[in-house]
């Protein structure tokens, strides 16, 4: 029994990573109605930027804020330059665009900073949290920041005019235009916010998985899975989904025989998909009714 609780706790700790990433994924999904496969790479690149600033002597929190602003602006720039021209193209073409963006960012990061693993600092320290062997202060800090982000997003969407406008633009774009909302800019804003949230995720994850250009690839998949599990329309669901995915991954690795590190991913995905077959809109998502 103790092993089980330990594994669950450990799963929650790693799950914080996925929860954070899943928030960024849901953010972009709310804005543009599909998933951006390059989001992990954008987060990775932002993290490298912050690392570079620190190499140049900028203190941690200064680098953090600058990176946040840079990511926000970068997300908007990428949308305006690369994806606005594709606005009328079919969805699958957009997906090809995301893949192209992935390749470009990954390659550039590799060239600029090479593929050797780098240490990345944490503002929370890495001592055991409250004496527990399973959760470090950094992981606790991650969970705390993720929850804060979630609250901030909730307040933004529910209580601000801009948040209301964004929700409207994503929900019924034509009606949003008919109340005077510039839906095109709402999409750009959504990208900016998703990029900013992604950069926070990256800067929190890097101390754990170490900084290198491929660090987000695995995390992104789990982030997607978590977002889908939680329900793509629910930021709260995304966070819960993230923790659940962390737990599932850990338990699968511990209890299912023959599952080494390599099979953890497909097994976790398979379990998530099983949930989806039962609850197609995810655990907390709004059920989607399709009309002919």
């Amino acid at each position: 029994m103790e092993l089980l609780t330990n594994q669950i706790l450990a799963g929650i700790a790693t799950g914080a990573i996925y929860a954070c990433m899943a928030l960024a994924v849901v953010m972009i999904y709310q804005a543009i109605d599909h998933l951006n496969f390059a989001q992990g790479e954008m987060a990775m690149f932002s993290t490298f930027v912050s690392w570079q600033l620190m190499q140049w002597g900028v203190p941690y929190w200064g680098a953090f804020v600058i990176t946040l602003v840079f990511s926000f602006a970068g997300g908007i720039a990428i949308e305006r330059l690369l994806f606005k021209p594709l606005a009328k193209a079919p969805i699958l073409t957009h997906v090809a665009g995301f893949i192209a963006l992935f390749a470009i960012i990954n390659s550039c990061a590799g060239l600029i900073w090479d593929f050797t693993i780098k240490q990345y600092p944490t503002p929370f320290g890495s001592a055991p949290f409250l004496g527990s062997q399973l959760i470090s202060t950094h992981q606790a800090g991650m969970i705390g920041v993720t929850v804060l982000l979630l609250i901030a997003l909730y307040v933004f969407f529910r209580f601000t005019r801009m948040g209301l406008a964004m929700r409207a633009a994503a929900s019924v774009p034509e009606s949003a235009r008919l109340v005077g909302i510039n839906t095109s800019w709402m999409i750009a804003l959504g990208w900016g916010m998703a990029a900013a949230i992604g950069s926070i995720a990256g800067m929190l994850i890097a101390p754990v998985v170490f900084l290198e250009p491929n660090m987000m690839v695995g995390v992104l998949i789990y982030g997607f899975a978590a977002a889908v599990l939680g329900g793509l329309t629910s930021p709260f669901g995304a966070v819960i989904g993230g923790f659940l995915v962390g737990i599932i991954e850990n338990l699968a690795g511990t209890y299912i025989p023959g599952v080494g590190n390599e099979l953890k991913l497909p097994i976790a995905l398979a379990l998530i998909i099983t949930v989806l077959v039962v609850k197609p809109a995810g655990l907390f998502g709004r059920p989607i009714v399709k009309r002919v």
């Binding site: 073409t93 090809a96 390749a103 060239l111 077959v277 197609p280 009309r291 002919v292």
Partner: protein, 346 residues
């Protein structure tokens, strides 16, 4: 959690290719066919090998076109079917001594069953969710192939070497009257070409048949299709089965051409490449499959030639250029060309 459900009246996510635009015109088809038949006679063996791979990946993209462009089901997992086909051929050839040509129908059948079975749980998924499920399949396959349990058959991490077949005695005999000899590569190429043409014709007819119309009805509006009496479950799984079968045959041909199979040759990267091939060729446009195949074979090499350190970035930039200029892929180019020809004739 609200009581209100999101009501979605969706435009089809995948656009239809009009029926008359589904294939190349007779003239263009013959021209392409002539090129495919004649070019190998004049080039070196390595180029012939590349042309064989062009056909092989073309088949795999064609299969994806049937699945996505035809029945509207999104798949990032084709690499799994390709791998199963490849390994089936390899195992039958190396462990059971079967003739290479006979392994292909077996590979096709096994993959058909595999695809059909996978299609069952996939019935309840669509769009993003189906993408995730097929993605899981694609990432699982290499790990599965590496499992120690199967190592005797699969060769484990190192894989299996496949013996390259010789041209049949009859062919060599006939050619020797003219003092000609056919290389293994050339024989393999023409063998692959015949199979490719056969499958292409089959696919075109499939999409034009009642089943094809059922696929497309499902793609355009699943609810309406089921209300019209289309057995959605049957046709969706059938589409998966057929697509998997063709991909499996492609995998088998690929294994024979490349002369070996190994788990790391069938990763998610392959699945993503096939997807890109479909988009570049034009989703649902069968003739575009070969254009897509050319893109995924040659452009990465070109990118690496331009800049070794930034090869990924160059590839991404080229891909962006292509989708900016022709968001609908090669089909768009063909349509524009057709319009220009029409104007020219007047």
């Amino acid at each position: 959690m609200s009581a209100v459900q999101e009501v979605v009246t969706e435009a089809p996510a995948i656009e239809a290719v009009p029926k008359r635009a589904m294939t190349l015109g007779a003239g263009t088809s013959l021209a392409v066919l002539a090129l495919l038949i004649l070019v190998p006679l004049f080039v070196k063996n390595f180029i012939i090998f590349q042309m064989t791979m062009l056909l092989v990946y073309g088949l795999a993209v064609l299969a994806l076109n049937i699945l996505t462009g035809g029945s509207g089901q999104f798949s990032l997992g084709q690499s799994a079917f390709y791998a199963v086909g490849a390994y089936t051929s390899a195992i039958l050839m190396e462990h059971a001594g079967m003739n290479y040509a006979l392994t292909l129908p077996v590979a096709g059948l096994i993959c058909f069953l595999f695809g059909f079975l996978f299609g069952q749980p996939a019935l309840r998924l669509s769009g993003v969710y189906l993408a995730l499920a097929t993605f899981a399949l694609a990432t699982a396959m290499p790990q599965f192939l590496k499992l120690g349990y199967f190592e005797y058959w699969t060769g484990g991490v190192q894989g299996l070497v496949v013996t390259k077949p010789d041209p049949p005695e009859i062919v060599q005999g006939v050619l020797s009257w003219f003092h000609l000899k056919m290389s293994q590569d050339m024989w393999l190429y023409y063998f692959t070409l015949v199979i490719t043409i056969a499958i292409y014709i089959f696919s075109v007819n499939l999409l034009r048949s009642r089943s094809g119309r059922a696929f497309m009805a499902i793609r355009d509006n699943e609810i309406a299709a089921s209300a019209m009496g289309v057995d959605v479950a049957l046709y969706k799984t059938l589409a998966f089965g057929v697509s998997a079968a063709v991909t499996g045959i492609a995998g088998g041909l690929g294994a024979i051409a490349v002369q070996f199979v190994a788990p790391d040759g069938y990763t998610i990267t392959l699945a993503i490449s096939l997807f890109l091939g479909m988009v570049v060729g034009g989703v649902g446009w069968l003739p575009g499959s070969i254009v897509g195949s050319a893109f995924i074979i040659f452009v990465p090499n070109i990118a690496e030639g331009i800049s070794k350190g930034l090869s990924g970035a160059v590839f991404g930039v080229i891909l962006f250029l292509v989708i900016f200029l022709v968001p609908h892929g090669a089909r768009q180019v063909a349509m524009v060309a057709q319009q220009l020809m029409g104007r020219f004739k007047k």
